[in-house]
Subunit: 246 residues, 2 copies
């Protein structure tokens, strides 16, 4: 198709990196590519924290339980941030903005802004020949991450991104057929046939991949993961940061 679409289609998460750190120039390029993404109403309601302190990296690895949070070329943490919007105004105006800043609408908007930027960072990273992996696992203990990064009210960590020179070459993971995800004009529920087809596809993938071969399928994973309540401290944490309140 073209070089960019080929790059997007070749994405695989990389979870083993060489220790070679990113250069300052690479970090700047990746962040600026992130910033070039669209942003809701020009708010730019996010912050990105790069982790270089080895102790801090180790502490974040403990939160996630994943070695590649520590062992990588660079670690980014993406935060939803409406604090900058507040800080741009005097105290009286800040009071008048409170209803918006603390709403679910603004929490969604900041989450969307941070994620648009993050995906541009991911694409830029891969275009530089580097690999990356998102780290939702930082939400295993959001209160701890909040404390470690010294986040004020109106700022919450959403996910991390480990980046670096790949030390593995995993296969691409299959996706649902595009017509399961994409519908025309109105919502169409996924059918049991769609699930069966995708279960077969994932079963083939897990049984034939070059590393960590196992017997598994998508719907089984979903059952295993979702039948145990997860991360129930996320909602009260976010409200404690004065976000998603009404």
């Amino acid at each position: 198709m073209n070089e960019t679409i080929d790059l997007l289609m070749q994405h695989r998460s990389i979870r083993q990196f060489k220790t070679e750190p990113l250069t300052e120039n690479q970090i700047q390029t990746i962040v600026e590519a992130g910033q070039a993404a669209s942003t809701s109403s020009y708010y730019q309601a996010y912050s990105i924290i790069g982790i270089t302190d080895p102790t801090l990296k180790q502490q974040l690895r403990e939160v996630s339980g994943q070695p590649y949070v520590e062992e990588n070329g660079h670690l980014f943490v993406f935060c939803a941030d409406v604090n900058r919007l507040a800080q741009s105004q005097d105290e009286e105006t800040q009071k008048q903005m409170k209803t918006n800043l603390e709403s679910t609408e603004f929490f969604m908007m900041a989450t969307i802004d941070a994620t648009l930027a993050a995906q541009n960072c991911a694409v830029a990273t891969e275009s530089l020949g580097l690999g990356m992996c998102y780290l939702g696992s930082l939400r295993n203990d959001v209160n701890r991450v909040n404390e470690l990064l010294q986040l004020p009210d109106y700022v919450v960590p959403l996910f991390g991104m480990a980046v670096g020179v790949p030390e593995e070459d995993p296969e691409r993971k299959p996706r649902f057929d595009w017509q399961t995800i994409y519908h025309e004009n109105r919502y169409e529920a996924t059918t049991s046939d769609d699930i069966t087809t995708f279960d077969q596809k994932t079963e083939d993938y897990y049984s034939s991949r070059s590393e960590n071969v196992r017997t598994d399928k998508w719907s089984e994973q979903i059952r295993r993961k979702l039948t145990n309540p997860m991360r129930q401290d996320v909602a009260p944490f976010i409200q404690s940061k004065q976000l998603n309140k009404h």
Copy 2:
């Protein structure tokens, strides 16, 4: 740098399109590029609805108030969707999954999944020489969008994306200096100097751009927009769809 990073850096939202519709092949390519993005724990917790029905497009334009919601080459609506996760299981298992599915954590996760896919779609679109614009404006009346697209529980519309052959050539809009957005090891609040510098940058941009020249600056926009409560129906709507409940 490279072709992909150049493309990312050249992004401008396009709000005037030729009427030329996208081909089925272009739509499939854009959706599949979206699907290739990372997805939290392999959930793929989103759906994309393409709008081709002229009446529906007109109705969605009424929600947004923006002519380019109707006049474009194609209109996508991105939805957070945990319904597919529920539908992949029997009734008994669905009951056991309820705590997760209805949590803020899962609502965030699905919002992030949809947005990662959307930004890949945006990049793919632009790589094909097309233009695009996100449409947060669909949240001006989420209940109406929900009704028009016949969304079940566990599915909410997040934003639209208008795509097509550009009929305008706007300038790139400036962004905060990368070091205002990016900090090392811990959060650093944006200073009043950062705001003043960016206000100057945006003032120069608004006064010198080729269309819609005006006197304005970033912090003034923020004040005007945020001092009036916006979209207060979004939070109760999302809870009525059984999401973001605890």
